[in-house]
């Protein structure tokens, strides 16, 4: 348990705990509200979407939507603030976009992949960033596909293995570098430790590396700026923070890595209000709050005169163990600083408040 001594350290306070009767795979705040969504799989093999509202010290169930296939992941990233449509990926490889007011028929639906969609991300919506709204999905069939909700049935970009190459599961995807209308970058992490960065403007592979452990989660610190930092978490309790401002022609991006705990780090999420603070969730049911410190000089010249980045350092602000099962999903509220929701495999969703984030 965290030490309460040291009154300046942020504290992670458990605000509400809600037991669920199904396995929750993803939880997301509904933007501009005190409502949250839990996505998961019921025992009978169907998918469940539950909408809760935060009332004082408890969660009140507003809606429950059942779908034929279990749902693995969801995002609000590609819809406008008025519509707030939810894009979900399910166990069958279907990408659906739902209007939660009328959830019987999806607004957009495509069987995007042959196997489960492991991860989904959206960009261009919610008034953040510029450019077309796009959704990227990564699947166990080894492909990463980018979809535009205005174009049916075919993806606008697809990253597939070369003919004849055996596929590796794609475990996580993230958008980044969306600072103007043309620029977009998709980062994908795979189970064999590969991280690949695809530039959508030039439709090419910009950078790849291998971090020696299966990559569980990647996230840029902000999607809508010139790409600044990328955090990639992996099995064996390690995560890497890449400085994405300077790309060296051979060495790629500079990184610092940290071994936080013995178990898998399932998720990393940056605080929307401060891009240098992020939280990692662990397979042992723990949460770690980290702060990244930039080095004195972010780039330096190497022996041949080409620029290479300098990675900073990461310090642990707080850690707390909430559960005995992995915490598989975490989402910060974009509206209230320090409010977050996490879902764990012990069929519980918890709303947490992280205090004293202003003083960091």
């Amino acid at each position: 348990m965290s030490a309460a001594v040291g009154a300046e350290r942020p504290q992670v306070v458990s605000h509400v705990q809600q037991a669920l009767s199904y396995t929750v795979f993803d939880c997301k705040w509904v933007p501009r509200s005190a409502r949250l969504l839990c996505l998961g799989s019921a025992a009978r093999g169907t998918g469940l979407v539950q909408l809760y509202e935060l009332h004082g010290a408890r969660l009140e169930l507003l809606r429950e939507i059942e779908k034929p296939k279990p749902i693995k992941c969801g995002t609000f990233g590609a819809t406008s603030l008025q519509q707030r449509y939810l894009a979900t990926g399910d166990f069958d490889g279907n990408l659906n976009i739902w209007n939660l007011e009328a959830p019987e028929i999806p607004v957009y639906s495509v069987k995007g992949h042959k196997e489960i969609i492991n991860s989904i991300d959206g960009v261009g919506g919610l008034g953040i960033g510029e450019g077309a709204p796009e959704i990227v999905t990564g699947s166990r069939d080894g492909t990463v596909k980018v979809w535009d909700p205005r174009q049916n049935d075919t993806p606008v970009a697809s990253m597939e293995p070369v003919q004849g190459e055996s596929k590796r599961d794609c475990w996580t995807v993230a958008f980044g570098n969306a600072y103007n209308q043309e620029q977009r970058v998709v980062c994908a992490g795979y189970d064999n430790g590969d991280i690949k960065l695809f530039d959508l403007k030039t439709m090419s592979l910009q950078w790849e590396t291998n971090i020696k452990n299966g990559v569980c989660s990647v996230e840029f610190d902000r999607k809508d700026i010139n790409m600044n930092k990328l955090v990639a978490t992996s099995l064996e309790g390690k995560f890497h923070v890449f400085d994405m401002r300077t790309q060296h022609p051979t060495k790629g991006f500079a990184s610092v890595s940290e071994k936080a705990q013995k178990s898998t780090i399932w998720q990393v999420r940056h605080l929307p209000q401060n891009r240098d603070i992020f939280m990692t969730t662990g397979g042992s049911g723990s949460l770690h709050l980290w702060k990244y410190e930039y080095p004195a000089q972010r780039s330096k010249k190497d022996s041949e005169g080409s620029e290479m980045g300098v990675a900073g350092s990461v310090s642990l602000l707080q850690n707390v163990t909430l559960s005995t099962q992995p915490i598989s999903s975490l989402d910060w509220s974009p509206d209230k600083k320090g409010l977050c929701v996490c879902g764990a495999f012990d069929q519980t969703v918890r709303v947490l408040i992280v205090t004293k984030l202003n003083k960091i």
């Binding site: 306070v13 010290a57 993806p155 606008v156 293995p161 596929k167 430790g193 439709m203 408040i353």
Partner: protein, 420 residues
């Protein structure tokens, strides 16, 4: 024999007896005094004083004072009564003995009880201390909990406030929005109707998608009215990806890499033994890849006298499986016939190696190996080594006459060369 101290003097009151005992120069310590209910003893070797008291006394409260070479006893009687004398008169030896033993026993019991009592009090003290520390820790924990609770409540209040703000904001926004939407929907509805009428769609499926796309375009229009900056969807493209190769279908874990490497190595080894030069062997028939079949072939060729062919067959068999001792054994025989004596020695040695541990099962093979090696040595004129091998063969199989005869011959040869 102890020296009895008899010059004691005593006086009594109703409740107590005062006994004074002069010690003849001896120094007394509390350990020398033993007192029980009815028995009093002072033993300072070689001096001894004992008294079986007239009546029982309260030995816990009685005292003894040591000073100036005297011991002053103050014994409190159990029953206040005047004693006739200090000690029991007419006490026979047995009674005395019994009393003495009793006294000792009683004293021991008392000592035990005292230790018990001490233990109990100690435990109680410990318990008390433990409880005290627990209370302190509890208080600390409560303090921390209270702090946390306060934080929570503060944040909850803030949340509620913020939520209220949201609600108010929403309500305010939704009214004009409704009006706007209404206005947008009207022209859109008309456009939709037009579309539907123009393109008579009998198929429900497509109509659904049509509906969807118009719905989509609905939102586009509403968005466009606000920000007309959305670019068109990207031109579709595919990026081909290569993965870092990995043999196993499971995810990569650093901690397992060493084990995986080892396993792959082993598999490679195993495959190599079977697959070495498999490229060359590809044009062989299936049976020719079976070491046993090849061995049989070799044997047949040996029997027919085709020693070179036999060697070839055995070579191939060894390439396929180098753990069969019989292959080496037979190849040694071929080499002998071909007079490749060194090769014969090598092969017999290899066969012997593989024939460990020496068990009755491989007796015959070992005999053969030794004999062949011995023969090779002799033909190289290394008679001593040859003899060694023959003797080894004899040891395994003493009843073989041929080996004996040959051994004799070699001995004679050796003796002959030595003599000459």
């Amino acid at each position: 024999m102890p020296v009895w101290l008899r010059e004691h003097s005593w006086r009594q009151s109703l409740a107590a007896v005062y006994l004074s005992l002069p010690l003849r120069g001896a120094r007394a310590t509390p350990a020398n005094i033993f007192c029980s209910e009815q028995y009093l003893k002072v033993s300072i070797p070689p001096f001894l004083f004992e008294a079986v008291l007239y009546a029982p006394i309260d030995d816990t409260n009685s005292t003894a004072r040591i000073e100036n070479g005297n011991i002053f006893f103050t014994l409190y009687k159990k029953e206040p009564a005047m004693w006739d004398s200090l000690t029991l008169a007419n006490a026979d030896k047995e009674k005395l003995q019994y009393l003495r033993e009793n006294a000792v026993l009683k004293a021991q019991e008392k000592a035990k009880e005292e230790t018990e009592a001490k233990k109990i009090t100690k435990q109680e003290h410990k318990k008390y201390a433990l409880e005290a520390t627990m209370k302190v820790e509890e208080a600390e924990r409560k303090r921390i909990e209270d702090l946390k609770e306060k934080e929570r409540q503060k944040v909850t209040k803030e949340l509620e406030l913020w939520k209220k703000q949201q609600k108010d904001g929403d309500n305010y926004k939704s009214i004009p929005k409704k009006r706007e939407l209404h206005q947008e929907i009207q022209p859109l509805k008309e456009r939709k109707n037009e579309k539907m009428n123009k393109t008579q769609i009998p198929n429900e499926g497509t109509s659904k998608t049509r509906l969807k796309s118009t719905k989509g375009s609905c939102s586009i229009f509403s968005q466009n009215l606000k920000e007309e900056k959305l670019p068109a969807p990207r031109a579709a493209a595919t990026i081909k990806v290569n993965f870092t190769p990995r043999v196993f279908p499971t995810a990569l874990r650093e901690s397992r890499v060493a084990e995986e490497e080892e396993w792959l190595h082993k598999q490679a080894e195993a495959r190599r033994i079977i697959n070495s030069d498999l490229s060359e062997l590809e044009d062989l028939k299936e049976e020719e890849k079976n070491p046993d079949w090849l061995k049989d072939k070799g044997n047949k060729m040996f029997a027919m006298g085709d020693y070179l062919g036999a060697v070839n067959a055995y070579n191939l068999a060894v390439r396929l499986n180098n753990k069969l001792p019989l292959l080496y054994l037979n190849r040694a025989a071929c080499h002998l016939k071909l007079r490749n004596l060194h090769k014969a020695i090598e092969d017999s040695s290899k066969a012997l190696e593989l024939l460990t541990p020496p068990v009755p099962d491989n007796e015959k093979a070992r005999v053969k190996a030794h004999v062949r090696r011995g023969t090779a040595f002799c033909q190289l004129e290394l008679y001593t080594e040859g003899l060694q091998d023959y003797e080894a063969a004899l040891k395994i199989d003493p009843r073989n006459k041929n080996i004996e005869k040959d051994a004799e011959k070699i001995r004679h040869l050796i003796q002959g060369t030595m003599q000459s």
